[in-house]
Each structure stands twice: as structure tokens, then as C-alpha cells.
């Protein structure tokens, strides 16, 4: 490497930029090609590689902790985000683009990842494939421990690593010349109901199958299908495996400017003045925006359907900040460095106010008022920091108290759960520009492109028609991107500069300034009779929404709805105060309030069982809802605060329920009976270890009835393939694939005949977006209807071409239209006829679908733990989730979602917590201190898909993505109880919390 001369020039002859550092010249070998490059001394290898268009190398953290930027460096897997480009001079660098040697074909390692379903969002696919390659080249027959160690540097928030490990094992086996078994579901015998077996030991075949293969319990009332229910590879697999430029940041725009947000250092302060003159004077700065030069338009950031729930308590830039990291100003500049320097030069005069961080303290008299502005409407009780109040009950207060009075036993406990961050590997990022017609285009990592378009319009003063939102592939969302979080800033800056603008959150900003799960204090009172039947339930929640009330109403309503719906109980009441504090803002997060409520409900169920001397599984079985039972509290929850009289026949009812089978399969898989074996619980050779097994069960919804809507458009092509356009947003879970499978099934073609385009507000039809577990159930309903509409045109034409009187007699399968007499015509010939030859028409189908029900999926989740009774350390050895998601449209993507949710919820149980210091500043805003599970410390995770036929869902499907998030935390807590006899009612179960409980040591301070 050598030095070049200083570059003080500015592009386009504009004002001089700040003095640039001495440039370096590098000689690099990249993917076998020689490069001579120049860069700044501070440029990382990541920056230089992406500048070359090698977009498979991605930003995850800038600290090397995410692994998304991993490349092979002289054959070693290293993180390019913590290597200066200058260090790489003279070395060989390999990225996954080097494997892209043939059109439409994959390297065997990539193929293994695709076959087993190891790619969800695929954001870190390149890094994982390279890790596999380096490992297998060095060690052709790696053990699972060696594979997990090799992956330890690459975080995966989506898969739970189960299928990634198996992909590497399969790739290694294939390379050794061994035959790799096909990916197909492992069928387990049912243990309950018709056709069940008493044998609790699966077949030898099932026992030998890798856990990564989807394990399915089939239901006899499910029809045989050709594409639905099959473990098809994802439709976006090739582009993800090859590391193609499919994410928001994988785009080069000329003259793009970089945005940076100046954020509040104070948890609570009034902004008295902002002086941006020095920032504006900085060469290279093109715009500075803040409350002094942007309109004060009230809104709520939650990506929800119109009209967004009150209160609209935000403006793009306010004269008050309410948490550390709140927006103060934003800058657009030629480089990110200049933008950061400009932020440092903005002088802000603050009047610092006292802050409040705890939800219970926030509603106490005299607490600082977070929202004292006068122009926010719809705050429930601003004088007591209550953004919302939610109530619902199935009986009157008097009847409820009478039920408690009649109960033989009454249990009351208070639980506390913490704020958890989504931590998607891809942070929030938006790139905006003006198109040829001066329309604003926002390319954004969002789960809700249509909501973003509608919500950003009034802030920018633009009509919706002047805005286009494009959702490329998303590197994980989990609800965190169900927000209009940064798009307005990009929009303002594009309009101000008329230049493309890029704004990406740093990892620290993602932790502190994006959204997180609500912390809650939950007090649960339950009455039971001597047999263990519930007779009364009363939950009171104080929920911490942080600085703003986005999702405050819906998360807490839905959370209570689910928490109070898994058990039959004649008298129920749920009350919730949603409370403003000066903490980071809570929002939507996978489970949507249910994980918090189930921690209380399911923990208490074990305590009740213990007190009554019952098996906690049997206690649950006695009380679980079943087919036909009413979801009695569901329609009664809201902000009304009174008992709603609803005739029994009008209550929503459960139409499919696999809870009992889930319980039987789950307890079999975990070895439930061991929890009562003293010799197992207390191993003789490890005197400080106690073992335990715990259970948690859960119910969720499938979309929001009468609210969620999706739409789909399908058209035939000349060769009998189809274009499918959907507004649904695939955030990595595979919804594009699932919707395409539904369409392929209806049209009698293969999955590869469906070409999916999703989520561009100019091109695809409306969809509310990816949330509330609605995509398969609601958007899938739209896809099925649209396919049926196209099918109707196809069979009509086929009947004419086959000289049949009744189009209804035509069947579609094997890419052909078949008459009852066995004659057929290919869809390709039929398409050519319709498009070119006779009575021409574009065969197409368009439909929308909104749910009038929300068929609940169920899960029974179990944990096996070891507790060190001297140190309090909890080590989870195994997790099991048996889930009833109806008919899994794709068992490989469904089981992958379950595996990922198990590990994400294990983080919730054991490590993940947004911890603030006394001033309200987040102290663990990095992956390391925050800690999400790595491949090398993940326990065994087993997913079992229990089929049920849900009549209201497409091909019997229900939702899958959220419910496995709900029961792991109480299962772990209950396993610790089983192991040690101590009750820890606060998450996460840090070693010190368990140690204090074990030793009865009160918390100091």
C-alpha cells in the first residue's frame, strides 16, 4: 500500500469539502481477480467490498459481532467490518459472489442451504455459506460441535441455527460422496384422538431423522395436495444463496447523500433553542432539519390500518425529547462523516427535566409528565402518564368477586417482564429519491409499505399518489419494522435537497431508538376448585410503552386477549394501564403482548399445580380450551370499560384445536416423566446441579378480524407460468413461497411456475403488511381467491378447447387442464390460445380477502434445564415446541419459523433486556452485552407440527410465526421451579436472580 496526495476537491465544482485524509492505494485479490484500489485510511474492508458491488458482504453491527460482513481472508473466515481495508492489501479475499459460476445453478453448499430451508431472510447467507466452505475444506467430516463453533461468529436471529447446522452437515456429506437423504417431512403417529397410538416411542425412522427435517403429525381430515403441505424450496432461495443485491442497501445511486440523525443525550428535556448555523456552514452539508424548520404534524408511528389508533403523540421533530436517543435534528451531507460532524456542530440548548423509567412509578402521584403538550388528542390520562386504559370482562365485577369467593383456592402473584429488542441483523434503512416524474420513491426495509406510504404523505405534505414505497428483501423484522420509523426523515431530506438520501441506523441506534417489546408489571389472581378447574381469573397489567404510545392500545389488548383465552374459566377480567415513561419506545414485537401475559399465566399455572399437588400438564389439560369453546373475552376487550352483553351464539368459537395432541407430543419429546425422577433431577456425580422440565402453552390469532386485508393479482404467461403480485411482505419467514404454493395448488402447476413479485406500492395490490400473524391466513386467502378466479377463466377456455359442455368438469393438475374423459391441454397451449389465437384475453385473477375470524394457532412448549444451585446459572439443554398451525402450507418454512422463535424467546427468558443507567441511557446497546444466542450455545431445539384442519383458513392453514414466541419463557421458569423449588417471577432469569431466590438473598440497594 502507498500514500496518494491529499484530495481537497469537491464534486461538481461545489464548495470545498473538509480536508480529506491521505488516501491509500491497495493491491487486493478479490475472488481471484487483481484489484488496485484507493481508499481512505479509515475505510473498512466491508466498505471497499461493497463499493465494488460485492453486496453479499453486509453491515450488521460494525463491531464484528454480527458476522453479516464475514468473508474469507486468505482462507480464514473474518469479519470485514472490523478490518481496515489497508490491512487487507496484498491478501486474498473471497466473497460468496465467487460461487456464482453458472446461471440458475448453485454451488453444492448453497444447494444444501436451500434444500433444508436454512435461509430465511438470507441477510447473512453469504457469510454462512463461506463459513461452511472454509470449515468443510479444512475438515471434511466436521462434528456438530465443530460446525456450531465455525458458525459462532455469525449471528442468526431467524433460524435457530437448526437447519443451518444440518445444511453444513449435508454439504459435507455430499462432498464426501455420501448419499444425502431427500428433505421430506418425518411423520409422527398421533397420540390422541382417532387413529392414535398408545406407543409413546416414535418409529426408528423418526428417531433417526435429523431434527431439522420437519416433524409432522398428520390429521386424517386433511385432503391430499400436490404442492401445499410440501417442503418446497423458497421461491427467493437462489437470489439469497447467491448473495444477490436484493436488500435495501444493495443499490448504487449517483449523487446520493448520507443522512444522520442527531439524537437526544437526555431522557427528558425541553429544547429551548437550536443553532444549526455551524452545521449548515460545513462544506458538504446540504440540509439540516429540526423542529424549527419542519411542520408540526401529529402522527403515530405504528404501522397500523387507517385510522391509526390514538394517541397521535409524535411529530417528526419536536421541541421536547422524551428518551435518550429521541430525534433532535437530521443532516444530509456528501459523506456520512460530514453528516456526523455536522450533527456535532448543532448547538442545542436543553432544559433538562426529571425522568421516570418504571411503569409503576410513572403512574404514582408527582411523577414527571412525559406528555404535557397540549396538541395531542386521545391520551387516556396524560396527567397520570396513561396513554391507554384497556378493560374487558366476561362477567360483572360482583360476579367475578363471587366466583373468587366460591373458589377453594385463590392465588395472586405479581410478575415483571422487561423490554426486549428485535435485533434484526439488517437495521432499519431507507433510501429515497425523486423519480423522473418528481415522485418520491422510498426503498425501505419495512413490514408495512402501504401504511408507510399513507402515513408519510401528510407529514411531507404530499398526496399519496406522489409517493411510491418499494420493499425489497427484508433482513428480519419481527414486528420492529411495523413502524414508519425513519421514512419521513428521508422524505424531508429528499425534498429539501432533490438528491437521493440514504439513512441507516447504526446498531446502537437500532437498540436504543427503534422499537422494543413492552415491559410490564402483571398481577394475576386466579381462583381454582379442589380439582384444579379454574373458576375465576383477574389480570391487571401496567404496561410500559416508553416515550410514545405507538401500538400501546393494540399490543396490550391483543396480549390480554390471548393470555386470557387459553383456558376455560367462567369469570374473567382483564385490565391494563398503558403508561408513558422515558424509556425507549415499545411497539410491535413477535407475539404482540402475548409473551408477557403468558409468562404470568403459565408461571402461575405451575405454582397452582404445585400447591394442589397436581401434575402441571394435567392441570393444563383439564382447563385448555377445545374445539367449540367460545373465545369469550375476545370481543369484550377494548377501551369501553364495561361488560359487553354478547349472546353466546355470537361469540367467536374455536374451530380447530390441536392443544391436546401438542401436549402429548411435546411431553413425549421432552421426556416429561423424568421431572418426577429424583435420580435424574439430582445427578449423583454433579452435586451442585439440579435438573428440571417445565411447560408453557399458548394461543395466538391469525390476523385481526374485520381489519386485516390482503390482495393478490395473478396472470398467465405464454408458457403457462403465472405472475403473482402480492402486497404481502415477506420478512424472511417465507410468505412469498407459501402464497405461491397456494396459487400453484389451485392452478395445478409446480411452484417454479409461479413468479412472485411482492410489495411495491406502484405495482402490487394493497396488503396491510406483515404483522399479526396474518400473512398465510389473510393474504393466503387472497392468493387462493385470486388463483380461483384465474382458474375459472382457465377451465372455461379449456372446456371450449376440449369440446366439453361443463367447465366444472375440468380439473387442473400436472400443468394441464384435464377433461373427465382423460383428454387434456397444456396450460402453455391454453395460454398461447388465449393470448394470441382465439377470442383473445389475458387470463388473470384478482382478489382481496379480509378475515371475519382469527383462527387461533396453539403451542405447547417445553424446556429442560440444568441449574447450578450454588451459582444460579441456568443452562437450557433442550427446547421442544409442538405447534398446531392448522395445515402447514410449507412444513420446512413453518418448522424453521418455530425453531427461530424458540431461540428468540429463549433470549427473552435468559439474557435479553434493555438496561438503562440512572440517566436513562442504554448500557447494553451492542450484540455482545445484550446477547442473542449464538450457534455454539443454542440448546437442542425440536419443532413438531401438529396438523389440524382449520375450515376458515386457506387449505386449512392457520398462523405459525408468533405463537412459538409465547411459551418458552414460562417453560424455562417452570423448569427452574421443577429443578430447585424456587419461583423467579422476573425476566430475564439472570444467574444472580436465581441465586438470590435460591439463597433467599434480597436484592441489595
Amino acid at each position: 500500500m502507498s500514500e496518494l496526495t491529499e484530495d481537497k476537491g469537491a464534486p461538481d465544482g461545489g464548495p470545498a469539502l473538509p480536508q480529506r485524509p491521505v488516501m491509500l492505494e491497495l493491491d487486493l485479490t478479490i475472488n481471484g481477480d487483481q484489484y488496485r484500489l484507493t481508499c481512505e485510511p479509515g475505510d473498512t474492508l466491508l466498505t471497499v467490498l461493497r463499493r465494488l458491488g460485492l453486496f453479499s458482504v453486509r453491515f450488521g453491527s460494525g463491531t464484528g459481532e454480527s458476522g453479516a460482513a464475514a468473508v474469507l481472508f486468505d482462507g480464514r473466515l473474518v469479519s470485514a467490518d472490523v478490518m481496515l481495508a489497508g490491512q487487507a492489501s496484498g491478501h486474498n479475499v473471497t466473497t460468496v459472489e465467487s460461487l456464482d459460476v453458472a446461471t440458475g445453478e448453485l454451488d453444492p453448499i448453497q444447494q444444501a442451504f436451500v434444500d433444508i430451508g436454512a435461509l430465511q431472510s438470507g441477510y447473512s447467507a453469504g457469510a454462512m455459506v463461506l463459513a461452511a466452505r472454509a470449515l468443510i475444506e479444512a475438515n471434511p467430516d466436521p462434528s456438530e460441535a465443530e460446525i456450531r463453533d465455525a458458525l459462532s461468529g455469525i449471528l442468526d436471529r431467524e433460524t435457530g441455527y437448526v437447519k443451518v447446522v444440518e445444511a453444513i452437515r449435508r454439504a459435507a456429506a455430499a462432498r464426501r460422496g455420501e448419499k444425502v437423504p431427500p428433505v421430506e417431512p418425518v411423520v409422527l403417529e398421533p397420540l390422541t384422538g382417532p387413529g392414535s397410538t398408545e406407543r409413546r416411542v416414535p418409529s426408528a425412522e423418526a428417531l433417526q431423522a435429523p431434527l431439522a427435517m420437519p416433524h409432522v403429525v398428520l390429521s386424517s381430515d386433511v385432503a391430499i395436495t400436490a404442492v401445499v403441505g410440501k417442503p418446497e424450496p423458497k421461491v427467493d432461495a437462489l437470489r439469497l444463496a447467491k448473495g444477490r443485491p436484493v436488500f435495501t442497501d444493495d443499490i448504487d445511486l449517483r449523487h446520493m447523500l448520507y443522512a444522520k440523525v442527531l439524537r437526544s443525550p437526555h431522557a427528558h428535556a425541553r429544547i429551548l433553542a437550536i443553532d444549526d448555523s455551524e452545521a449548515r456552514a460545513l462544506p458538504g452539508v446540504h440540509a439540516v432539519i429540526h423542529y424549527g424548520n419542519t411542520p408540526r404534524v401529529k402522527y403515530a408511528t405504528g404501522g397500523q390500518t387507517w385510522p391509526n389508533p390514538a394517541p397521535w403523540d409524535q411529530v417528526s421533530f419536536d421541541n421536547k425529547v422524551r428518551f435518550v436517543g429521541d430525534r433532535v435534528a437530521a443532516v444530509a451531507a456528501e459523506t456520512l462523516g460530514i453528516a456526523e460532524e455536522a450533527c456535532r456542530r448543532i448547538k442545542v440548548t436543553y432544559e433538562v427535566l426529571p425522568g421516570v423509567f418504571d411503569e409503576v412509578e410513572a403512574i404514582a402521584p408527582g411523577a414527571p409528565l412525559v406528555h404535557d403538550e397540549t396538541d395531542t388528542e386521545g391520551i387516556y390520562d396524560a396527567a397520570h402518564n396513561k396513554s391507554h386504559h384497556i378493560e374487558g370482562q366476561t362477567v360483572t365485577d360482583e360476579a367475578l368477586e363471587a366466583a373468587f369467593a366460591s373458589a377453594k383456592h385463590v392465588f395472586q402473584q405479581t410478575f415483571h417482564v422487561q423490554q426486549q429488542q428485535h435485533a434484526p441483523l439488517e437495521p432499519h434503512i431507507t433510501i429515497g429519491w425523486l423519480d423522473d416524474d418528481d415522485r418520491l420513491v422510498l426503498r425501505s426495509s419495512t413490514q408495512v409499505p402501504y401504511h408507510v406510504r399513507r402515513m408519510v404523505a401528510p407529514l411531507l405534505g404530499l398526496p399519496v399518489r406522489r409517493i411510491r414505497v418499494i420493499k425489497p428483501r427484508i433482513g428480519g423484522g419481527f414486528g420492529g419494522k411495523q413502524e414508519m420509523l425513519i421514512e419521513d426523515i428521508v422524505g424531508y431530506l429528499v425534498l429539501a435537497t432533490r438528491r437521493p438520501i440514504r439513512l441507516e441506523l447504526t446498531r446502537s441506534e437500532e437498540f436504543a431508538c427503534a422499537r422494543c417489546r413492552h415491559a410490564m408489571t402483571l398481577t394475576l389472581r386466579t381462583g381454582v376448585d379442589d380439582d384444579g378447574h379454574l373458576v375465576a381469573q383477574d389480570m391487571h397489567v401496567v404496561s410500559n410503552t416508553g416515550a410514545y404510545g405507538t401500538h400501546g392500545s393494540t399490543v396490550n389488548t391483543v396480549g390480554g386477549m390471548h393470555g386470557m383465552s387459553i383456558y376455560n374459566c367462567p369469570a374473567k377480567r382483564f385490565r391494563c394501564d398503558v403508561v408513558y415513561t422515558n424509556r425507549p419506545v415499545s411497539g410491535a414485537f413477535r407475539g404482540y403482548g402475548a409473551p408477557q401475559n403468558f409468562f404470568a399465566v403459565e408461571s402461575q399455572m405451575d405454582d397452582i399445580a404445585r400447591a394442589l399437588g397436581m401434575d402441571p400438564y394435567e392441570l393444563r389439560r383439564k382447563n385448555w380450551v377445545q374445539v367449540g369453546d367460545p373465545l369469550d373475552i375476545v370481543p369484550r376487550l377494548g377501551e369501553r370499560g364495561d361488560v359487553v352483553e354478547i349472546p353466546q351464539e355470537d361469540l367467536p368459537r374455536i374451530m380447530s384445536c390441536g392443544l391436546q395432541e401438542c401436549g402429548a407430543q411435546g411431553t413425549r419429546a421432552i421426556g416429561w416423566e423424568r421431572r418426577n425422577d429424583p435420580s435424574w433431577r439430582q445427578p449423583a456425580d454433579r452435586p451442585t446441579i439440579r435438573r428440571g422440565i417445565g411447560m408453557g402453552s399458548a394461543i395466538q390469532g391469525s390476523g385481526i378480524p374485520f381489519v386485516d386485508m390482503g390482495a393478490c393479482s395473478i396472470k398467465i404467461n405464454d408458457d403457462g407460468s403465472f405472475n403473482m403480485l402480492v402486497g404481502a411482505t415477506d420478512v424472511g419467514g417465507g410468505s412469498d413461497t407459501v402464497l405461491a404454493q397456494i396459487v400453484a395448488e389451485v392452478l395445478g402447476v409446480e411452484l417454479k411456475d409461479i413468479i412472485v413479485t411482492s410489495s411495491d406500492t406502484d405495482i402490487t395490490p394493497f396488503d396491510v403488511g406483515a404483522y399479526a400473524s396474518s400473512t398465510t391466513y389473510v393474504s393466503g386467502g387472497a392468493a387462493k381467491k385470486a388463483a380461483e378466479a384465474a382458474r375459472a377463466r382457465i377451465v372455461t377456455r379449456a372446456a371450449r378447447l376440449l369440446d366439453l359442455d361443463d367447465p366444472g368438469s375440468v380439473e387442473l393438475h400436472d400443468r394441464r387442464a384435464w377433461g373427465p374423459d382423460g383428454r387434456s391441454i397444456s396450460l402453455g397451449d391454453l395460454a398461447l390460445n388465449s393470448l394470441h389465437t382465439e377470442d383473445q384475453e389475458q387470463i388473470m385473477g384478482t382478489a382481496s380477502h379480509y378475515g371475519t375470524a382469527s383462527a387461533p394457532p396453539f403451542a405447547v412448549q417445553l424446556a429442560e434445564v440444568e441449574v447450578d444451585v450454588e451459582t444460579g446459572q441456568v443452562t437450557v439443554k433442550k427446547l421442544v415446541t409442538a405447534i398446531d398451525c392448522g395445515v402447514p402450507i410449507n412444513p420446512i418454512t413453518a418448522s424453521g419459523q418455530v425453531e427461530g422463535a424458540m431461540l428468540q424467546s429463549l433470549g427473552y427468558a435468559l439474557t435479553e433486556d434493555l438496561v438503562l443507567d440512572a440517566s436513562g441511557k442504554l448500557v447494553n446497546d451492542r450484540f455482545g452485552p445484550y446477547w442473542i444466542f449464538r450457534a455454539d450455545d443454542a440448546p437442542v431445539c425440536e419443532a413438531i407440527l401438529v396438523q389440524t384442519m382449520e375450515p376458515s383458513g386457506p387449505f386449512g392453514a392457520k398462523a405459525v410465526g408468533e405463537v412459538p414466541m409465547d411459551g418458552i419463557a414460562p417453560a424455562v421458569r417452570n423448569a427452574v421451579l421443577n429443578a430447585t423449588g424456587v419461583k423467579v417471577n422476573q425476566l430475564p432469569l439472570l444467574p444472580e436472580r436465581v441465586w438470590r431466590a435460591l439463597n433467599n438473598v434480597p436484592t441489595s440497594g
Partner: protein, 247 residues
């Protein structure tokens, strides 16, 4: 900068000379051209490890005591082990570093070069003096590879940084104990003092770095563990580690 991993990531504690991710404000010297990598066995006892030896090389080396290899594996995930160096690990003085604790009990001595010449100091002395003086370059660390060692740790998960870890080593009649998570850097302690209300530094190295004998270890409290809990862990894990090497 050798591997530069911690420096580039902004993970180096402020006292070690750089507390920000923007390396533009830090003078960077690339040490790659220097021959500072490699593991060399000098005799039956001494192992000399070049400062730019990557942690993965420690993990993979049969010459390195097993407890050091185990600690090197715990130190960082695979990607960062492949680029981080033992010199960087020493310079960071990370209080949670199990690797540093193993080097301490194995009588680690740090070789460094500065304008006034080369010096060799016990590791515990160097850790007490961090950050490194300007112009001083760590060139190697040597350890006594002999003896029986044991590592005990408590963390939130098996791969997480330990809240407290204890490494004990027995060589003949001499026993060494080092603890992480109880001071600004991993420290050697008098294992007999661990059971008391406070942890007293001991050993030859600590005596040199604590000439007044008044320095009492006071573990910090943070979200992973309070001072009280860390003391308790230190006692429990020390007992376990010393018992393990006594077997």
C-alpha cells in the same frame, strides 16, 4: 495494530487508548510487516507466543496448555478469533477475559519494545499499568506451560462472556489463582483470602503493582451481576477450580 479487531470495532476500553469507533482520530500503525506471530516452545517449561499470534492459532496448537486453548476459544467467536491477536487481548486488559486469566496463572511475562529498548514484565504488572505507554509495542508473551490448570465460569449462557471466571493452576507445591470480572482487569489473587469479605490481591506480581498493599478489589456492579454476587461467585468458583486441580 496487529489484528486491530478491537480497535477497529471501537471495543477497546478508553483507558487503553481509544474509545471510539472512528479510527480517524487514532494514529494507526500497521504491524503486519513485523515478524511477531508464532508459538515457540523454548524448553520444557516456557512457551513464547508472538504478539500477533491469532487466538485461533492458540486454539489449534497442541503446544499450548489446554486451559489456555479453552479460554482462547471462549474469548471470541470464530470470525474474530481468526483475526484477533494475543497482543491485542493483552493491550485491551479486558476485565472479563478468561484468556488473560489463564496467562496470569501460567506466569505470563510480556515482552515489549519501546524507544528505550526491550523490556520484559510480569503480565499482572503490565495489566495494572494499562494503557500502554505511547510508542510501546508488545512483541510476545511467554508462559510456563507446565502444571495442572482448571477453568470455572458462570455466565448467562454457555458462550456468553463470564460474569466471573476463575482459573487455578497447580505446579508442584505452588498454586496460582486468577479471577475475571472482579476488577478493572483479570487479577491474580491469594486463594486463601477469597473466602473473606473482600478479595485481596496477592502473589509476586500483584505485590509489585500494589506496593502500598492497600489496594482492595471491589467488584463493580452491573446488569449482569452485582458486586455482592460477583464476590460470591469468586468464592464458589475459586473453591471449585482449586479443588479440580487438587484431584
Amino acid at each position: 495494530m496487529g489484528g486491530g479487531t478491537r480497535l477497529n470495532a471501537g471495543l477497546v476500553p478508553k483507558r487503553a487508548g481509544a474509545g471510539q469507533s472512528d479510527v480517524g482520530g487514532v494514529e494507526v500503525v500497521d504491524l503486519q510487516a513485523l515478524d511477531l506471530a508464532g508459538i515457540e516452545r523454548r524448553d520444557d517449561a516456557v512457551l513464547r507466543i508472538g504478539a500477533m499470534t491469532r487466538l485461533q492459532e492458540l486454539v489449534d496448537s497442541d503446544d499450548v496448555p489446554s486451559v489456555v486453548r479453552e479460554a482462547a476459544r471462549h474469548e471470541l467467536p470464530s470470525t474474530l478469533r481468526a483475526q484477533s491477536t494475543i497482543g491485542g487481548c493483552i493491550a485491551s486488559g479486558d476485565p472479563d477475559s478468561e484468556l488473560l486469566a489463564t496467562l496470569l496463572v501460567h506466569d505470563g511475562r510480556v515482552h515489549s519494545t519501546q524507544t528505550s529498548g526491550s523490556v520484559e514484565v510480569p503480565l499482572d504488572e503490565l495489566l495494572a499499568e494499562l494503557p500502554l505507554a505511547s510508542g510501546r509495542i508488545i512483541t510476545a508473551v511467554s508462559i510456563d506451560a507446565r502444571g495442572a490448570s482448571s477453568l470455572m465460569r458462570t455466565g448467562r449462557t454457555p458462550a456468553d462472556r463470564p460474569i466471573v471466571a476463575v482459573v487455578a493452576r497447580q505446579l508442584g507445591g505452588r498454586r496460582s489463582v486468577a479471577i475475571t470480572g472482579v476488577a478493572a482487569t483479570p487479577v491474580l489473587v491469594n486463594s486463601t483470602a477469597v473466602g473473606g469479605g473482600s478479595l485481596l490481591p496477592s502473589g509476586d506480581g500483584m505485590a509489585a503493582s500494589d506496593p502500598h498493599g492497600t489496594f482492595r478489589l471491589e467488584p463493580i456492579s452491573d446488569f449482569r451481576g452485582s458486586s455482592e454476587y460477583r464476590r460470591a461467585l469468586a468464592r464458589i468458583l475459586t473453591s471449585r477450580a482449586t479443588e479440580a486441580i487438587s484431584r
